[in-house]
Subunit: 207 residues, 2 copies
Amino acid sequence: MLENIKPMDIEKRSFEIITALLGDKKLAPENELVIKRAIHTTADFDYADNLVFSDGAVQKGLAALRSGCDIVTDTQMAKAGINKTILAKLGGQVHCFMSDEDVAQEAKQRGVTRAIVSMERAASLEKPCIFAIGNAPTALIQIHKLMNAGKLQPALVIGVPVGFVNVIESKELIIQSSAPYIVARGRKGGSNVAAAICNALLYQITR
Amino acid sequence: MLENIKPMDIEKRSFEIITALLGDKKLAPENELVIKRAIHTTADFDYADNLVFSDGAVQKGLAALRSGCDIVTDTQMAKAGINKTILAKLGGQVHCFMSDEDVAQEAKQRGVTRAIVSMERAASLEKPCIFAIGNAPTALIQIHKLMNAGKLQPALVIGVPVGFVNVIESKELIIQSSAPYIVARGRKGGSNVAAAICNALLYQITR
C-alpha cells in the first residue's frame, strides 16, 4: 500500500521510521545524526554498531567545515554525492584526483594504486582537509603513512572503505592514529556512506 | 596484518573471498556475477538473498547493451559510478535528468518529486533504455505508470532504490509488471548498487 506523502516530507518521515526501528538502541547525541544518515543511505542498521568516533570527531569536523575546509575523496561517486552547494557557501570544495591522467600514469609506473598517488597529491594542498574515503583501503594506509612522516594533518578522516582485502586493517590503522576519525569498523562502507557522513555534517551547519 | 597484493589483483582476490564466504549458497549461474558485484560494492551478503531476477533478465540486459542502448538513472552518484567508457564503446550513454533546472521547476510547480518528472523526460528518449534506479521509489512508480499507459517499454529495470517510504512497495510494482527486471527486494539498495549492477553487465561484454 503506497503512502501518500509530499516530496519534502519523505526524508523527515524516513528519519522517524529509522528512529522507531532503532528502538531502545542508545546513540551518543553528538553522533546520532551521522549514524542515522548512514542508515538512511543504506537501510543497513549495522551502521548503528560499526560506526566509531574519536573524541569530539563530529565537533572537529563541523569546526573545520565552518572554517571553509576542503574535502578530499577517493571516488567520483562520493564527489557526486556530497552537497557541494552547501560546502561552497562555507568556502570549501571537493577534490578527487583518482581520474587525473597524471595520477593514473604515475600509479602505473610505480606499481601502486591510484589512491596512493591521489593521497600524496592531497597532502600538498595548502588548505586543511577532511578526507572522506569510501573505496580504497590503500588511501587510508597512505594517509596513515603521510601523517607518520609529518606530511599530513587531516582535519578529520572519514574512513569507510568497503571490501575484502586490507579494508578492516586499514581502518584499524586510522583508529590507532592521532587523527580525528569517523570509521565504519569491519568490511562495510562505500562511497555512498562517505558522502552521507559528509552531508550529515554539512546539514548540521546549514540547510 | 596487511596483505601484500598488486593493485590489479585486488578485485580478483575480493571475488575469491566473496565466493568462499558464500559457501554452499546456490546462485543461478546467469545471475551470479551481478549478485557478487552487488556484494563486492556493499560487503553486504543480504544481496545474495534479496536480489530477484525476471526470467532471462541478465541476457536481456546484455543484449540491450550490445545493441547500444542508453542507461537512465535517478542520481548523479549512479551516473558517476557507471563505467561510461565501456558503455560509449557499445554506443550508449548515461542520462540523469534529476539536476536539470527545468525538471526541478516543473516538479515544484506540480508538487511531485523530480524523479517523476525525470522519468517522463526519459520516456521521450527515442532509444531503448535500461533504467537503473538507486534512490527514488517514485521513479519506479512512475515507470510502472508510464508502462501501463503504453508510453514506455524499458529494456530492463534495475530497481534498487533504498529507504523507508514506499520503497518496498515500489519494487513489488516492478516485479508484478511485464518489464524485465533486476530488483533488490526490501528496503536495501542504493546508487552504488545500481551502478554496480550496470557494471556487472558491462564487464560481461568487454573489459
